[in-house]
Each structure stands twice: as C-alpha cells, then as structure tokens.
Symmetry: C2
C-alpha cells in the first residue's frame, strides 16, 4: 500500500537576507517526498523535469528512498525554474522569475505500479492536473491536497470540484479567507469543510497550524526559531511529514492526526533552518523525535483546579 | 498580601459589525480588575473618573470584590471617553475619538493600605505614571506591566527605565517588533528580556500568546471563536486573569506561569464574546474551569514513538 506524491520539481534561485543560492533543488513534490521519506518509503514520485536536471539531484532523491519510476525527463527541455527574494522579515517574498519550461505541459501519468497506492499527496499544481491524478488511481483511500491563492483566484470552479474528492485540504490562513470571503478563520474552516474535505489544515506560518475535523479543533504552535534561513518549501515539507507519518501508522483517529500535524510541523521547522532541501537530506530519527518532544514542552501545561 | 491594579477607567463607545454601544464601562484598570477578581480579591484599584461616572458602574465593580478606596472621583470633570469602530475582520479598528477629561491630569495616589501589596498590575498608561506607582510601593515583589505602541514611540526612554523594574512585560507582537526593531519574534523576545523583565508575554490576538522566561518558551493558542462580538479589553482581561491566578496561587514556577497564561487566555476568550465588560460581570468558576480544559483539548497531543 504505497504513498504517491505528485507535484513540481524545480531548480530554485533564492535570496534571503542571509545568503543566496542558484539552481538549488526545489518544487512541491521534492519537499513532500523528502519529508515523507523519513517515515515511510519508498515514496512514489510523479513529476517532470528537463534534461538539464542535475544527476546529483536524481541520486539524492533515490538515496532518500524515493521511487522515480514516475519522473518524466523531457529531452531537450529545461527544468522548471523559480527565482525569489525574501525580505528582511522573511514573511514577504518577491517572485523574481518563473520559467515553467518542461512543467508547462506537464501531464501526470501514474505508472501502473503506483495506481494501486491508497495514500495520495497532491502537491500544489493546477487543480485540473490534480484531478487527473485522482482519475488514474484505482482506489485512493486517503488523499491530501495542497493548493494556493493562484488557483483559488484563477481556477476556483475546478478547485471546488477537486476538493470534494479529497480527505484533507491544506491551505494557509489568507487562502482560507480568500476561498470563503470570511475573515473569521474558525467560520471559514467550517465553510471549507462543508465544501468537501472532512479534514482541513490551515497553516499560519510563524503562528503554527490548525487542524479541523468532526468534533476536533487542534492548534499546533510553530517551533520557535531565532533564525530562519530560507522559508521556501516549508508548507510542502509540512504536508510531507504529515502524510508520511499517517502512511506509516495507518491510523486516522483524531489523536493520531494531531500527532501527524506535529510531525509535519517538526519537519517544516527543520526545513527552514537551512537553504533549499539541505536540512531534509540527512536527518536522523533521533533528531525528529527530539523535535517532536520539544513541541510538547512548548505547548503542554497541566491542570491545577482553582477553588474559591 | 494584596493585588494592586492601576490603569484607566473609561466610558467606551464601540461599534462593531454586529452592534453598537455608547458609554459602556471600559478602561484598562476595569478589565484587569474584573478578570482578576474571579481568582483573588479584594482587588485594589487605583484610577480616576469624573463626577459623571455612573453609579451603576461603581456598584458593579464593588459587587465584583474590587476595593475602590483608590478611585479618585474628580468633581466637575468628565470621565475619560473613547470611541472606536471595528472593521469587518475585527483585527483593524479606527479610534473615532479620545477625550481624556479627568484622566488628563491623573496622578496615581496609592492609599496607605494598598502600598503594602506585593502583587502589582500596571495597566497601559503613561510609563511615567507607572513608575510613580512603583515608587509608592513599599516592597513590590511581582510587577506585571502592560504598554502599547503609543508609549514605545513617544516615551521610549521612560519606558525602558520602567521595564527594568518589572517582572513581567506584556505586549503584542507588533509592539515587540517596534520596541526592538527586530522582525523575528523569538529574537525580539530575547532582546526585550535583556532590557529587564525576567518574564515576557507576547500577545498575538487570534494566534494566541507566548510566554518567555529562563529556559522556557510556552505557546498558548487562542480559543477558537466563530463570532467575536467586541475585542475591546481582551488584552487587559488577559493580564487580569494572568495576575489574578498567580496572586491566588502564589506560585511563580514555570509550570504555574503556563497555567496563568491559559487562565488569562480563558478570561480574554470570554471577554470578546460580549460587548464591553458584560461577559466578565457574572461568570461562574465552573465556566472558567471548563474553558481552561478546552484549551487543553485544543493544544495537547500524546506521543507515539516512531521507529523504522
């Protein structure tokens, strides 16, 4: 029972107040797969790159137990490139350039072997393509879907059709407000769950993440980091840690979904501590467990009844 | 060993998307005292009003176990009035008018009886006045201080002198960034603690609150409310619940400070559910305990070690 990840692979050029990298490994499918690979594997990746995609990145993914049978390499095409610059406060970024290249005509073809997988993570790509992935799956049982403001604004009808078919939608707070035109996040969450997904996760960046499901609201803090080197990929990494942990444990109870949110948050907190995917390349399980426990220290308190 | 609260008393005119009130009971000392009164009392209030201050508000405070010996009533003067309008999303408000009136020349005189109190809560007023309060106290042992951008921008030197003498500073996230010129909140918190206060609380509105002290960072969620009727006084109410609980329990360990943050957050969550001080006028202890427990459901998760 596999875990399929579909999304983008990219070469990112990122500038932050601290440093600058060119043609670093990026893309939603990359971050999701790497994060998920710490919990469960092999992770089945479907995506597209050009013939310029560095061999070392292919090897890096393979070494992390990511099955690349579904990776299309388009001869004579270039890989999707994105360039961005983060401002001083790291919450605002400018996109400097987007060159779709091979990604422009991406048609996700799910290899026969992957079609039987029950867990599916749809990285942030065109909702029409996300739908096309689901159409090829034989019996998907747990589908996690990420999206962004670009698709909410430009492809809302397709997105609304798609999210009826997913179990978990992951979006950020401004996207939740945009999707519902409702400023109150708790009301917006209820409205989004009425659109289809049983489970909704709202990411709030430096303020953590919230999980909404029947009878449960769970609020996870963000890990307190004094220095964030590169926020790129944090959301995708969250999704990867979340679905990777659930795929490993096969337990969809509220208690386990809460843990999955914390594992997702833990992986995201590692991600932003280094440039690009560097922090996700050779983590140890002890490091991940330790980070999980730190989330507990950060958010737990015990009860002492007052009386008067 | 008393609990002294010094701050403003006001008549507020508030408009939200849901309703509108005129001359409702307001002011930082009011909210702090009412919230604290659920844990500990009598709460010793020092503040100033005009002779137009409604008798029913005096009675309301007295009925809530608030000692008004330090309340100055200036004959022939009017009470401080504030008018504000909240926008659709309730995170933005316009101040429509501010009439300082009796509050303009407020000189906090601490009655002899109150000077012996060990716990002091300095509501958000001019830091010079907050200092004058401390100068009158014989042996203050636990001082909690609130402030705002207005004083950070206009009276920074006085504020910096003051906060060297307080145990807990409570500010919101934008104020923390303003005070330190540092966008990273965790770094800003460290810088502020280096300015004096051993304990720092950063309020983040709909994203909860964070507690910083030696070796401890604690992140409390906000209570998920679908409807916020009136955010006025939420920050003061937080401070009141926080210090009231600590005054009652006399336990300043990190574990108990975490609980105090949750009691503060609980009280603030009640505050915003009704207009003005209405929600704080007759709460029951069961309601408060129940809200505390809901915070636990909201933020706790248990551990399940992964292995691979």
């Amino acid at each position: 029972m596999g875990l399929l990840v579909v999304g983008s692979l990219a070469l990112d050029s990122v500038e932050t107040p601290f440093d600058k990298v060119d043609d670093a490994l990026g893309g939603s499918a990359t971050y999701i797969s790497l994060a998920a690979s710490y919990f469960s594997g092999p992770v089945e990746l479907v995506g597209v790159v050009g013939s310029d995609f560095p061999k070392k990145y292919v090897e890096l993914l393979q070494q992390n137990n990511i099955d690349l049978e579904g990776l299309q390499i388009i001869e004579g095409e270039k890989t999707f490139r994105w360039g961005g610059k983060y401002h001083y406060d790291l919450n605002v970024r400018d996109t400097l350039f987007t060159e779709l290249n091979a990604f422009q005509n991406f048609n996700p073809i799910i290899p026969e072997r992957f079609q039987k997988s029950k867990y599916v993570c749809l990285g942030n790509i065109d909702p029409v393509l996300q739908m096309r992935v689901l159409d090829q799956m034989r019996d998907p049982q747990f589908v996690v879907c990420d999206t962004m403001n670009f698709w909410i604004e430009g492809m809302k009808d397709d997105l609304l059709k798609l999210i009826k078919r997913v179990n978990v939608l992951i979006i950020n707070d401004s996207e939740a407000r945009l999707l519902t035109d409702e400023p109150n996040l708790i009301k917006a969450a209820k409205m989004i769950r009425n659109l289809g997904p049983d489970i909704l996760i709202i990411k709030k960046g430096e303020h953590g993440a919230m999980l909404f499901m029947d009878g449960t609201i769970f609020s996870a803090p963000a890990y307190p980091l004094e220095t964030i080197f590169d926020p790129t990929g944090a959301g995708d990494t969250f999704a990867g840690g979340f679905i990777g942990y659930l795929h490993k444990t096969r337990d969809l109870t509220p208690d386990n979904l809460k843990r999955a949110v914390i594992y997702g948050s833990s992986m995201a907190s590692f991600c932003v501590e280094k440039f690009s995917t560097q922090a996700l390349e050779k983590l140890s399980y002890l490091q991940i467990q330790d980070r999980f426990r730190k989330f507990k220290d950060l958010s737990h308190f015990d009860q002492l009844e007052i009386d008067k």
